[in-house]
């Protein structure tokens, strides 16, 4: 009954989505406010219905209702509760329901919080959202229904892929989807603007919070995936340029560019046409990410769907939305007109450079990801495009961008003074170069680029600090004045400084761990000791253990440093009995210098075990940086100027303050 309720709710949601698409569009066209206003209750209703379906599916998982085929295939009664819940989206059908749920949540949020949006814009935005929901609901109902029943019901389920039974991976998809789907807001606003043939700075102010929220979620989602790969896959790598990773990285790059170009539009009414195009491209890349992962085009652990019919359905959805929106763009964009003028050296100019390099880098990832697929489809030739390709194409684009980042916020709008900005960054540059030189002296045997990489990361962090210092007149003003300025600085300024510093942290982490990682591959018998990076690890032997739904063998290592006991590392190999596959759990000891990372391998003959040890210096900065970027986004989002409708209140307040002074 519960499953049928969920199924029925999905069908009702599809009907509501169609109403949400058609009536508001007509209403906006015929200038009928009542018809246009249908969008609001429709969007809310849609969320309620999809939520009912999602709850129904979750209930089936939690109660282990194996008469539902989807639950039977992806769950097992012995699984811990958290993985029963995460199993809902750990499979193709369920993850599509989550996708639509998040879409509906964004739509309902606009309906509820967008009270200050012009009526026509709101109607059009919600109509576009409705059309996306309708397409995906149709897909779910016809080609990937999660509520199909089995009769008779099997006794127990087949279990969830063991590598997905992990805390970070349980929450990786919801964040990733919130990012992907969140960019649909920017897309819907862009299409609405094209339908209207009108766009202004207010448009950018409305779009930015949604884009920022989506970007934050995507940042966290990508970071979680990378963190999971690091500790779960057993060799300490954190990014592999795998097509599935690239599929989530491309919307992130385009979304980052969109955030910055929308800023130009909000402040200077420039780059309008480009921002609209970027909004379309970002969501198109999100759709493509969904397609790549969901269609089974890439055979990988993410591609749960191997049914080509589904792939073609998603491809059709993608073609309609991408093709349609680009056609609309070509037709209507000339109406939007040009914006304010600016000199090449200006804040706008810096943001154009940001967009140029980010979108080109995105194009490099795009080509590298899709070229092998296209080549094989066209000629049958099979080639591989791996990390060496991306290192050669992506990195040279990103490095100049990172060098330029600290300059941007220090340049004035319209016409900036590069020399003055450089002077304000002198201290940051001096420290960064000094540290790089010092590192070069210490690590004189190379790799010689790495010290400059660390210097680049420091440059980003200190550049962000310099910007705040300059804005509060840290070197000139009296302490009271500095304090007043610190308090009055808009939160968005802190937000962007934090986010830029976060990028710096991530850069340092990536460079340090890639360049100065040490590795030891040893065969150890119980009682043997291995050394790495100043640590001594004594192998005590292997102990068996029984988990809730797996058996494991735990290697016990006593870790000492200069004879002092530090910790005990317990890497293990887990054997999942139901799913009949193994996972590796690395033993990791984190310190401020880096991670000591141990992996237990196979038992060799003569009682020895093959053991792999790594020391990954500063590796945690990679994810700490992502968290700082997320925090920067959150701080920026809390700025009242970014909130819908707030600018008017802000202005009156500013006027009141001015009048009071």
């Amino acid at each position: 009954m519960i499953a049928e309720t969920g199924h029925y709710a999905l069908i009702l949601a599809l009907a509501v989505a169609i109403v949400q698409t058609v009536l508001p569009l007509l209403g906006a066209r015929m200038r009928d406010p009542q018809l246009a206003a249908v969008a609001v209750p429709a969007a809310q209703m849609q969320f309620v219905l999809v939520a009912i379906a999602f709850i129904a599916l979750t209930t089936a998982y939690v109660t282990s209702d194996f008469s539902v085929e989807n639950v039977w295939r992806n769950s097992h009664s012995a699984k811990p509760l958290i993985y029963k819940i995460s199993g809902v989206w750990g499979n193709h059908e369920g993850s599509m329901v989550l996708w639509v749920l998040i879409l509906a949540l964004f739509g309902a949020s606009v309906a509820i919080y967008g009270v200050n949006l012009p009526r026509q814009l709101k109607a059009n935005v919600l109509a576009v959202q409705g059309s996306i929901a309708a397409a995906f609901l149709l897909f779910i109902i016809t080609a990937s229904n999660p509520f199909v029943r089995l009769d008779p019901a099997p006794f127990d389920g087949e279990g969830l892929n063991p590598v997905l039974q992990d805390p970070a991976l349980a929450f990786h998809p919801p964040f990733l989807y919130a990012g992907y789907v969140g960019f649909s807001m920017a897309f819907s606003f862009a299409i609405a603007a094209l339908i209207d043939g009108r766009i202004d700075a207010a448009w950018a102010r409305w779009v930015r919070p949604w884009t920022l929220a989506a970007w934050m979620c995507l940042t966290l989602g990508v970071a979680m995936g990378s963190w999971w790969a690091y500790y779960e896959l057993g060799w300490g790598g954190f990014w592999f340029w795998d097509p599935v990773e690239n599929a989530s990285f491309m919307p992130w790059l385009a979304g980052t560019a969109l955030l910055h170009s929308a800023l130009v539009m909000e402040k200077r009414d420039a780059l309008k046409v480009w921002t609209i195009l970027l909004a379309i491209v970002t969501f198109s890349l999100s759709l493509m990410g969904t397609f790549l992962v969901r269609s089974g085009v890439l055979t990988s652990v993410h591609a749960f769907a191997v049914d080509p019919a589904r792939g073609i359905f998603i491809l059709a959805i993608m073609s309609v939305f991408i093709g349609g929106s680009l056609a609309l763009f070509a037709w209507r964009a000339p109406l939007l007109g040009q914006g304010g003028l600016f000199a090449p050296i200006s804040r706008e100019g810096a943001l154009v450079l940001n967009n140029l390099l980010l979108t080109t880098a995105c194009a490099a990832v795009f080509v590298g990801t899709l070229y092998p697929l296209a080549l094989e489809a066209l000629t049958g030739d099979k080639i591989s495009v791996g990390a060496p390709f991306f290192n050669l194409t992506f990195t040279p684009l990103i490095v100049p961008l990172l060098i330029a980042v600290p300059f941007g916020p220090l340049l004035a709008w319209k016409r900036g003074d590069l020399v003055a900005a450089a002077q304000r960054l002198m201290a940051a540059a001096a420290v960064a170069i000094g540290v790089a030189m010092l590192l070069l002296a210490v690590h004189h045997r190379g790799p010689w680029l790495a010290p400059f990489g660390v210097g680049l990361g420091l440059w980003l962090i200190l550049g962000a600090v310099s910007e705040i210092a300059y804005r509060v007149k840290l070197t000139e003003a009296a302490p009271a004045e500095i304090w007043r300025r610190l308090r009055n600085l808009p939160r968005a300024a802190y937000g962007s400084a934090l986010a830029h510093a976060g990028v710096g942290l991530t850069v340092i982490g990536i460079v340090a761990t890639t360049a100065w990682r040490s590795e030891a591959i040893v065969a150890l018998k119980p009682g043997n000791t291995a050394e790495i990076a100043g640590y001594e690890l004594t192998f005590k032997g292997v102990a068996p253990n029984q988990g809730p739904n797996y058996r494991e063998r735990i290697g016990v290592f006593a870790v000492t440093r200069n004879g002092r006991a530090i910790t005990e590392l317990l890497p293990s190999k887990r054997e999942f009995t139901v799913e009949k596959s193994d996972t590796t759990e690395a033993g990791i000891h984190a310190s401020w210098r880096g991670d000591l990372y141990a992996v237990l391998g196979d038992s060799l003959n003569d009682g020895a075990y093959s053991v792999r040890l790594y020391f990954n210096p500063l590796v945690r900065l990679i994810w700490l940086g992502a968290l700082v970027m997320f925090a920067g986004g959150a701080v920026s989002l809390s700025d009242r100027r970014l909130r819908v409708g707030a600018p008017m209140r802000g202005r009156t307040k500013a006027a009141a303050v001015a009048a009071g002074e």
Partner: protein, 166 residues
């Protein structure tokens, strides 16, 4: 007693090691790749073997190098690389030997050929095209002088009146 340890700092600033993680999972036990018994006695030879292995794809895996793969085929290839090195082959000869047997697919960094020219040129081309577009847009704006349109006769008169009047 200390066991035999082979240790090296990884080379160069490679952002992300070239490994497809996903199939590794499908290939059962993801416990790392190079086994202690494969390691060559000569550290410089072993270093070269590792560098070569990192650029060769494990054929039954997804975008993963033989250096990181557990698949039996990857092990065979690793041993083959080491065998060729011991026989005195140069790095290039080893790679050519493997490519001759397994095809271009085995290279994680595709060679520049007619089939891959577009792949390698795409990014520089996009960058150049984007730069050109920006430059054209900038020039058009500047020539158009939008927002800086010269004052009309009426505006000039009004301005003159305002300035003189004060």
């Amino acid at each position: 007693m200390t066991a035999m340890v082979w240790r090296k700092p990884l080379p160069a600033l490679t952002l992300g090691l070239s490994l497809g993680l996903w199939i590794l999972i499908l290939a059962a036990a993801p416990a790392g790749a190079v086994q202690p018994d494969e390691i060559l006695a000569d550290p410089s030879l072993e270093g070269r073997a590792r560098a070569i292995s990192a650029g060769l794809r494990c054929l039954v895996c997804q975008n993963q190098s033989i250096d990181d793969s557990d698949a039996p085929l990857a092990r065979d290839l690793r041993l083959l690389v080491r065998e060729r090195l011991k026989a005195g082959d140069s790095d290039r000869e080893v790679v050519d030997f493997i490519v001759a047997r397994y095809g271009e697919f085995v290279l994680l960094k595709p060679r520049f050929t007619r089939a891959t020219a577009l792949l390698w040129f795409a990014t520089p081309f996009v960058l150049a095209a984007a730069l050109l577009l920006i430059w054209l847009a900038y020039r058009r704006r500047k020539a158009g002088g939008e927002g800086l349109a010269p004052l009309s006769a009426g505006e000039k008169r009004r301005l003159k009146r305002l300035l003189d009047g004060s």
